[in-house]
């Protein structure tokens, strides 16, 4: 029987997702694990892999449609399997409405099933069917690391089977884990370099745009919460760093190399002066950009920026870059927020879902090795900060475990310094409202 392709639930409060694009056409061959379609959720954009190999049929959702979590999107038939009529026409009809007008695009197409699916969040132990539990037990896999596709995120048999297959596929690619502080530089992981410009997305609006540069191991989707808190008409430009988000996986030789790519992206994307905001590594890059294109930067906002001192939690960076399962990712993610419980299990799971590709992890591990050798920030931008002419604000969480806020004290006197209470390394996720209001004040005067 055909395997159902459903809208996955990748975030704790996700009720629906927008289908962005299909990577496979109706009737075409798909390979299990290959990119099948992209979704844009409230918080993230991500690629979804094919749950099975075979041929794709009965595509029920068109790009742009908002589909409830758990609702079917298409079916994958095994090679040679007879293609029947679209299974369960009733619920298919409910979702396969023609592409809605832009105004209606946010209307959620709900099936009764999906309504149930959206309600419950696992509290404590994950929901799993008996057979899923047994298989996980036999394979020594923690259920917490498995993403459930059943009703209310229940983990089903094939979810565990998929996880087992995924791990089996990763093993040869990831030999003995390199120590975090390798005495000898570890051999670069094998991944094929891509070419092309950095991926840039924009949000239209009026006035001077705010250009956003994300941090290490993040991507532009991470700005979602902040974007919602910012004025609706503020135009945005977001740059995905190489090997991050949707940008090509390019090998970089060092910080300068990376900064050059960002400047190139800026030159292509910006039509005039911008407000510039960067977080962490993106903060250092924003500073470098402001140093190179001073006349085009109206204001500069640095969010826990890198580059202002040698100290950095290199173990966390490497841990995040390398983690191949939710269990190994979650402990490092918990260092990002002020308090460890700031990162929920579902958040970690969703984060891991976006990091399933071993190549992506290899690219980022290599980048970490280049930028933060021996767990030290290998670049220093304090001189650039001294040179910046644009009004600059430094915003730092007092409980930042990755980069100590004391590095902010290197800033010259004219730089505004905001030290947020009860906030860690990711203020734009931990307290987007407070951050948005600070940014608003900084951009307006």
């Amino acid at each position: 029987m055909p395997v159902e392709v459903i809208m996955p639930k990748v975030d704790m409060d996700m009720a629906s997702g927008k289908l962005a694009v299909w990577h496979v056409e109706e009737g075409a061959t798909v390979k299990k694990g290959a990119a099948l379609f992209d979704i844009e959720t409230d918080k993230a954009a991500m690629e979804v892999e094919a749950p099975a190999s075979g041929r794709l049929h009965h595509i029920l959702a068109a790009p742009g449609q908002v589909i409830a979590v758990g609702a079917p999107l298409a079916f994958i038939y095994a090679e040679g399997e007879a293609v029947g009529p679209a299974p369960s026409v009733a619920s298919a009809a409910a979702t396969a409405t023609p592409e809605p007008a832009p105004a209606a695009a946010d209307a959620v197409v709900t099936t009764p099933v999906a309504a149930i699916a959206a309600v419950e969040v696992a509290n404590g132990t994950p929901r799993a069917t008996p057979v899923a539990r047994r298989l996980a037990r036999e394979a020594a896999i923690a259920l917490e690391s498995v993403i459930g596709s059943g009703p209310r995120q229940r983990i089903q048999k094939d979810d565990v089977e998929r996880e087992i297959a995924r791990r089996a596929a990763i093993k040869p690619a990831a030999p003995a884990p390199a120590p975090v502080y390798a005495a000898e530089p570890a051999a670069p992981a094998v991944w094929s370099e891509e070419s092309g410009d950095l991926h840039v997305t924009t949000r239209k609006g009026t006035g001077t745009p705010l250009l956003l540069i994300h941090g290490f191991a993040a991507d532009s989707a991470g700005w979602m919460a902040l974007e919602r808190a910012l004025p609706r008409d503020l135009p945005l430009i977001r740059i995905d760093l190489p090997g991050h988000g949707r940008s090509p996986r390019r090998r970089i030789a060092g910080f300068a190399d990376l900064a050059r790519l960002v400047v190139q992206a800026f030159d292509r994307a910006a039509e005039g002066p911008v407000h510039l905001l960067g977080h962490s590594l993106g903060g250092a890059l924003a500073l470098a950009l402001a140093d190179i294109r001073p006349r085009q930067i109206k204001t500069l906002t640095l969010l826990a920026p890198a580059g202002l001192g040698p100290e950095i939690d290199g173990a966390a960076l490497n841990g995040i870059a390398r983690a191949s399962a939710t269990e190994s990712l979650a402990p490092w993610l918990k260092r990002l927020t002020a308090r460890p419980d700031g990162i929920s299990h579902d958040f970690a799971k969703a984060a891991m879902l976006a990091r399933l590709d071993p190549d992506l992890r290899a690219v980022q591990s290599d980048m970490a090795r280049v930028l933060f050798p021996d767990g030290v920030q290998g670049f220093d931008l304090t001189a650039a900060l001294d040179r910046v002419t644009a009004p600059t604000a430094l915003i730092w969480g007092r409980d930042d475990h990755i980069l100590p806020w004391s590095q902010a004290l290197k800033a010259p006197g004219e730089v505004a310094l905001h030290l947020l209470r009860g906030v860690g390394h990711i203020p734009h996720i931990e307290d987007p409202e407070a951050l948005a209001s600070l940014i608003g004040r900084h951009l307006r005067p």
């Binding site: 029987m1 055909p2 159902e4 758990g70 079917p72 038939y77 399997e81 007879a82 029947g84 009529p85 299974p87 369960s88 009764p112 099933v113 069917t129 008996p130 057979v131 899923a132 539990r133 047994r134 596709s149 059943g150 009703p151 229940r154 089903q156 048999k157």
Partner: protein, 339 residues
Amino acid sequence: MNAQTAIPEVKTREMSYAEAIRDAMAIALERDPTVILMGEDIGVYGGAFQVTGDLVERFGTDRVMDTPISELGGAGVAVGAALTGLKPIFEFQFSDFAALAMEQIVNQAAKMRYMLGGEAAVPLVFRMPAGSGTGAAAQHSQSFEAWFGHVPGLKVVQPSTPADAKGLLLAALEDPDPVIIFEHKLLYKMKAQVPEGYYTTPIGKAQIMRPGRDVTIVASAIMVHRALEAAEKLAKDGIDAEVIDLRSVRPIDRDTIIASVRKTGRLLCVYEGVRTLGVGAEISAMIAESEAFDYLDAPILRLGGAEAPIPYNPDLERAAVPQAPAIEAAARQLVRREV
């Protein structure tokens, strides 16, 4: 529909479910002089559903006896006859009327062997026309198999095909203890090939009517056919349902059901009796307690009769018990992870 019991080498003949039962009784009367038939209007009238037919003409009133309109009295005589060495087949006009004879069935027939230390036995067969669908309303349409299945000392079977109706009746006569056969009234006219001559269908063995990989549907009596109909529809959408004919409520064939659920990981129980505390509840619990539990990939679902007396209105009567579309929908839900 195909009689699953038929063995290729054996000569078969097409007959209806009612004819198959009559054939079994005729064979039993011929080969065993201790077999007698008892019941209301089973003689010249031929039985409430014309199952005994002309047997009184062939075997005489000593062997085919009309009993007075007292189920309690008739059943009591049958129990006594069995205790003294005869093998009575006692027909109730409707299984509902067995309620009048509960004392004899539950307290006497089922208990004798145990209370007399194995010194006595009650080799007795109760035939009970059961089920809804005939417009006979609340007092003539019930499905009591769970009631009787609850009594140790009784065996309870529900043939779903003509071949099984014959084979299970002959097996019941071979059994040294009381056996209750629920004959679904809607099946009496169902025709199929039935092996000729004497054979028995083992009591306590379920039968896989349709093998499948995706979901196990355990059904009994008329529900077997509705489940098969649903399975055909599901097959068109690539859902491969395994349909099991339970055949016997007591004893229940654990092995067949457990093996099937281990294979499919999903279980749907379909029965006509009231859903709550019904046969499906027992099967569901049995699976939950068994080694098949660790193979379940979905909750167990039950489809049973409504929590209400069977209505007279034909639409409501249909709605009160599982029909093929509901079985199809439930199986689909299981496979599509909607539950």
